[in-house]
């Protein structure tokens, strides 16, 4: 903001300015109250300094109106801040429905990113500007955190589950990406860059990088290799066509949503949830598929549904 001396990182996403405004408001409150307390202390300490040992100060017990005032005014202020912050947070947590999905796998000490078109990156994420991007993330080992200060986004990346965050970049350029949950020896080296490009440049970059097929195609290959069709194509197991995003009735009477987490659990821990009307005969594929391959399978299964990307939180 001043010549080269920054208070905040670049505002490079749609939500950054909103977060910064709230931050400046909070800073103003903090400095204001700190100032009045400091000033009051200075003033009282000087004005009422001890002039002799025989001083007999007036013993004031208190004042109910004052107590009420300085309880309710701060309460009112924090309610304002709470409502403002919460509404921003809720808005910032809901990715737009037409987001491009990118899949992130964190592991000690690197980031692996997969584009649905099949391009894989390490420690770098190329994205087009002005398009909403939704990240679905998991970890292979410990808890990491995918943080891009310029976008004001941050989310833990947890082993055994998927977490998501989204952003829409508003400027091109290269922005720091950090791991922000201490994850062991090289935690501070688990860094990267998010490279935002103009849409045409991005398409060029994307087509230049595709060697194999899309994620969904890779998933289809895995589906063949692992012979899933043996059950899921013959009625021994539930059909996967049109499954993603739909509710599924289980044999204990409960209903779950067929989202990414459900697919992942079904592949790794098949006996955890049994679809009604089927027997618990699915073997586990734990140890046979990596987290990236799981994401490819999920992409394939999504492609068997007419509407994709609706189910994830």
């Amino acid at each position: 903001m001043w010549q080269g001396f920054q208070i905040a990182p670049d505002q490079a996403s749609t939500i950054a300015q909103g977060v910064d405004y709230l931050y400046y408001f909070l800073t103003a409150i903090d400095l204001f109250f700190t100032a009045i307390i400091f000033l009051a202390i200075f003033y009282f300490a000087l004005r009422y300094r001890r002039r002799s040992e025989q001083d007999q100060p007036q013993q004031i017990e208190g004042s109910l109106p004052l107590e009420i005032a300085w309880t309710l005014i701060p309460l009112g202020l924090v309610v304002v801040v709470f409502l403002w912050g919460t509404s921003l947070f809720i808005r910032n947590s809901r990715p737009p429905t037409a987001s491009t999905e990118i899949f992130v796998v964190g592991k000690q000490w690197m980031w692996k990113l997969q584009h649905p078109e099949g391009v894989e990156e390490i420690n770098e994420l190329h994205v087009p500007v002005n398009r909403p991007i939704k990240l679905t993330m998991t970890s292979e080992d410990v808890v990491h955190d995918f943080s891009v200060p310029a976008f004001r986004i941050k989310k833990d990346v947890v082993p055994g589950m998927y977490t998501t965050e989204w952003f829409q970049a508003t400027k091109t350029g290269s922005f720091h990406l950090y791991c922000d949950q201490y994850c062991g020896t090289n935690h501070s080296l688990m860094k990267g860059e998010v490279i935002v490009m103009e849409p045409t440049e991005y398409e060029q970059w994307l087509s230049g990088g595709i060697r194999g097929g899309t994620m969904a195609q890779a998933g289809a290959q895995l589906y063949d290799q692992l012979a899933c069709i043996t059950c899921h194509g013959t009625g021994k197991g539930p059909s996967l066509t049109g499954l993603f995003g739909q509710p599924v009735k289980l044999n204990d009477g409960t209903t779950v949503l067929a989202d990414e987490a459900y697919i992942r659990e079904s592949v790794l821990y098949p006996s955890a949830k049994i679809v009604q009307g089927y027997k618990p005969i699915m073997p586990t594929f734990k140890g046979q598929v990596t987290e990236e391959q799981l994401l490819q399978l999920i992409a394939y299964i999504k492609s068997l549904s007419p509407q994709e990307g609706k189910a994830s939180k």
């Binding site: 208070i7 400091f38 009422y48 709470f82 833990d156 082993p159």
Partner: protein, 539 residues
């Protein structure tokens, strides 16, 4: 100045320090005052170790690529700093030293309810402390003080088990101390000492003890589960074998959030004592300050999820925890306003204890308000696990709790030792600490908002200027801490005799000689006036 040296030859008078001599009389003592001294010495030693780690950290961070250590070693240093400072310094500090020394005296009792459990508490603390020191020095621990899983259970081969065990053991010291205080305050107040005539320090200690009793067992069992997972690979928190890493975070923070109030509430109690004495006025709004301590203790158990806004917990949980986190800020604000109002129309003097109290109020206000940033969901997303958080908690813990501790030390030193220290040097040290502190930690707020993550051994070069400022401040702060060490030790031999009440303060502890006799009071006092009865009530 109300320091008229009394012509009493304290070498011939019998008091708690000279009533018995020899190691056994100290190591097997059940006198709460001697136990307080045992804690004072051991806490100071642990503080020095944790402080050395801090100095090394700040020296290392002068260079973006790390000036001194490999990342693995740096990770061990910040873990060591955190574990020692939190569990061996901040949590015991005021309760174990000043609580132990003063609780019986302030309520007019001869000792705590359970003196032998008090001594046991110190021994348990020492065992825990030695285990932790062993873990961090011989081989090191690199989990951070937060032991997040599955990193700590499955992915590290450092001294995690002994560190967890050390914290587990030290926790029982905290529980027993809290238990002792609760029973003592409930059952052993002198005749006439009603709840609302107690000094506010006792209200603060009482509230702190409630947290110690109810919160510490939860982290104890959590660490047992971590230990079992390390030993038997059972997977309570490891998803690879069916567990949930976020469950660890819930269980850990269920204690560790209230724990930060264990660290700050006693300091707030101290500030109430100092402000009233050095303004010669009763506290403004006594019952509000008293109830706010208890309110903080209760609400503190309801906000732990604000450490986990980005952990993957549900949005709804985040919203509830955020709302409650704002609520818990209000009682603290009430205290700050009441302390400031106590100065109004007072008779204010500026000896060192008062400087620490005033410093506390200012710095706690600023640091506490940064807590609001962290309670705000949308802002926390950006600053979580950055240096903003580091700045926030150091403002509260060092600018707040530590200043309260030093204020207490300077205020009650004459009572504990019977000696005065040179006030000029004390005020100078307080000023140096204030300046050094702000220079060290204010830049960290800025680093955090700019995005510098915490626990980073290596950082991008654009953060260097602020890091160097912070490290420069740390060297000034270290100097400020060194000075009291010198004059306190000097005072024990050469300081002028203090007399029973060098500050002209109100309170039962000031109505006995300095140092006090072993039984505290010749006769059980009978209390007829309010706390802080510095003059007639206003008509």
């Amino acid at each position: 100045m109300a320091t008229t040296p009394v012509d009493v030859d304290i070498d011939t008078r019998v008091h708690y320090l000279n009533a018995h001599y020899g190691f056994k009389s100290w190591l097997l003592t059940t006198d709460h005052k001697r136990i307080a001294i045992l804690y004072l010495v051991s806490i100071t030693l642990f503080f020095l170790v944790g402080g050395i780690a801090a100095v090394l950290i700040r020296l290392h961070l002068i260079e973006p690529n790390g000036a001194i250590f490999e990342p693995g070693t740096y990770n061990k240093l910040f873990s060591m700093h955190g574990i020692i400072m939190v569990f061996l310094f901040l949590i015991p500090s005021i309760p174990a030293v000043f609580g132990n020394f003063l609780v019986p005296m302030m309520i007019g009792a001869r000792d705590l309810a359970f003196p032998r459990i008090n001594l046991l508490s110190w021994y348990i603390y020492m065992v825990g402390g030695v285990l932790i020191l062993y873990a961090v020095i011989w081989g090191g621990v690199d989990t951070g003080w937060t032991f997040y899983t599955p990193l700590s259970t499955t992915y590290l081969n450092t001294n995690v088990l002994s560190a967890a065990l050390g914290v587990f053991v030290a926790g029982f010291s905290s529980i027993l101390t809290g238990l002792n205080f609760v029973v003592t305050i409930h059952k052993m107040r002198a005749p006439g000492m009603t709840w609302f005539r107690m000094p506010l320090f006792l209200w603060a200690i009482y509230a702190t003890s409630l947290i110690q009793i109810l919160g510490t067992p939860v982290v104890a069992i959590t660490l047992v589960l971590v230990a079992l997972e390390r030993l038997f690979h059972v997977g309570v928190f490891d998803p690879a074998v069916g567990g949930d890493p976020i469950l660890f975070q819930h269980l850990f923070w269920f204690y560790s959030h209230p724990a930060v109030y264990i660290m700050i509430l006693p300091s707030m109690g101290v500030v109430s004592e100092l402000i009233t004495c050095f303004a010669k006025k009763r506290i403004f709004g006594y019952s509000f300050v008293a109830f706010s301590s208890v309110a903080i203790a209760v609400v503190s158990f309801l906000v732990w999820g604000h450490h986990m806004f980005v952990s993957g917990q549900s949005i709804y949980a985040g919203i509830i925890f955020s709302a409650l986190s704002f609520v818990v800020a209000i009682p603290s604000a009430i205290k700050v306003f009441n302390w400031t109002a106590t100065l109004y129309k007072g008779s204010v003097s500026y000896q060192a204890p008062m400087l620490y109290a005033l410093g506390f109020i200012g710095l706690f206000t600023m640091g506490g308000l940064t807590g609001l940033f962290l309670a705000t969901l949308a802002v926390d997303t950006h600053v979580h696990d950055t240096y903003f958080v580091v700045g926030h908690f150091h403002y509260i813990m060092v600018g707040g709790a530590m200043m309260g501790y030093l204020g207490a030390l300077h205020f009650w030193w004459p009572k504990i030792t019977g000696r005065l220290y040179p006030d000029g040097w004390a005020r100078l040290a307080a000023a140096i600490i204030f300046v050094g502190f702000n220079l060290t930690f204010f830049p960290q707020y800025m680093l955090g908002y700019l995005g510098m993550p915490r626990r980073y051994a290596i950082y991008p070069p654009e953060f260097q200027v602020l890091n160097v400022m912070s490290s420069a401040g740390a060297s000034i702060l270290a100097l400020g801490y060194a000075i009291p060490l010198v004059y306190f030790i000097w005072s024990m031999r050469y300081g002028p005799v203090a007399g029973p009440n060098p500050w002209g303060a109100k309170g039962l502890e000031w109505e006995t000689p300095s140092p006090p006799p072993t039984e505290n009071f010749e006769q059980t006092p009978v209390v007829t006036e309010e706390a802080y009865a510095y003059g007639a009530k206003e008509a």
